[in-house]
Amino acid sequence: MSLDKATVARIAHLARIKVPEAEQESLAGELDGLLKWVEQLGEVDTDGVAPMSSVLNVSLRRRPDVVNDGGYPDKVVKNAPDAAEHFFSVPKVVE
């Protein structure tokens, strides 16, 4: 399996990162090299092995479903590139 330009464009779209067409070819080569390298995992017998998503053998802790933080909108929007009246501003989404 070889990764092509079209796949790079698709991944770039999924990752929401603009990749100029001129760079897609070389990026395809790089990513393809990495994927070929990781394919050696196919050698490992993993039949019946449960996938490991955490090193902790416990389910995540839960806490009471109550509001325990907040009440400081100034702080929340302080680092926003474009904020108005405690709202995050974005380009128009609905026409």
């Binding site: 196919g42 993993t46 490991m52």
Partner: protein, 499 residues
Amino acid sequence: MASNLTHLSMSEALSGLKDKQFTAVELTEAHVRAIEAARPLNAFIVETPELALEQAKAADARYAKGEARPLDGVPLGIKDLFCTEGVQTTAASNILKGFVPPYESTVTANLFRDGGVMLGKLNLDEFAMGSANITSAFGPVISPWSKPSKGADGKVTFDRQLVPGGSSGGSAAAVSARLCLGATATDTGGSIRQPASFVGCVGIKPTYGRCSRWGIVAFASSLDQAGPMTRTVRDAAIMLRSMSGFDPKDSTSADVAVPDFAAAMTGDIRGLRVGIPKEYRVDGMPAEIERIWQQGIEWLKAAGAVPVEISLPHTKYALPTYYIVAPAEASSNLARYDGVRFGQRVEGKDLADMYANTRAAGFGKEVRRRIMIGTYVLSAGYYDAYYLKAQKVRARIAEDFTKAYEQCDVILTPTAPSTAFAIGEKMDDPIAMYLNDVFTVPANLAGIPGISVPAGLASDGLPLGLQLLGRPFDEETLFRVAGVIEQAAGPQPLPPFAA
């Protein structure tokens, strides 16, 4: 005395402060001057001398009242991956330039609670992705170490161009060059231990869950752990104790007691079984690495420990597993940088275009590469073949350690497969760069603790470290054995560039 304050160990400095040999303000001022003189190393992204002096004054007041805290007045560097309230935190990325957190990470809050003094924020690889500290948006960190070369006139010169390792390269350079008594660092695949080895410092990645991840910019959440970098094993034990502890704000924080790690350094390792994994003799490993490793085995034997050959059969699959799991988690974690709530924004013709422009401009090449790989291995049609397979191999790797600890109490390996290399080397070949972490990555995948201890200089005049791996939550054994190695290795030489 005053000129040598930056050369004290943390425990010596704490004794000196307690005995009123000098004040915390004097200690901090000495470090502030050292940092100014060491700017060519590019170890700090932000210096905070005013804050440091304010904290030092408060520490002096507590010493005067006899109410000193465990780390009172100790000048520290903080890796710029820890959010610090009111002080810019960037993860060395353009996308976070100018970000000033309105909150404090749990680890730094713990250090300040215990009286720690913050000198500034330390440089790192962008989002902690790298093994050489060359991917920072603020430029590479230069190692205080360099290979000596003799000119025609017989004069020895040092060409300062080596990497300090990564991703905690600023932490490594600052601790080694005597710019701070200790530094915070983080380790996702070796980012504490490999730079510690490159600059001749001590660095410990504790058990996953030991230090809270809350307020640390996330890279790969199932692998990330914070830990200290210091110049002695005892200092690492002192600093880790302050950093650790249960935190309800991190759902993976372990609710276990924090022991007095330094008290475990009894020097007595008689009868301890030290596992020597045969799979860590990798092809093409330099003879120097093999020599230091053998030396380490001899040191521990001389102290009464018993070497045992063990097998960790899935070792060679750890790196490829890591380079699926870590990018997958990173692609998910870094989705938050979209130019809306914080960080830099690059406008576009609509919202989707704004996202894509922002992320293309804000992330560096290596970060973009890892997000793309992560996105691919999680995408429909490839998830099972790559991500799920890697998670299963990860279980095999963890199982290797569980089995090994039936035969041994601690494992001894080299920390890195080479000494430090030059800036610019290995940059065109990502896989060659990734191989730096071949000995450190398995501990992250298994969640077990690992420490790198300086073992002396290689024949090229550069430091090399030995790594000890322990059972989950048994950092005490690591400190005990590391103390024995430190003692046997003797005093470590100063780097050519030191304050």
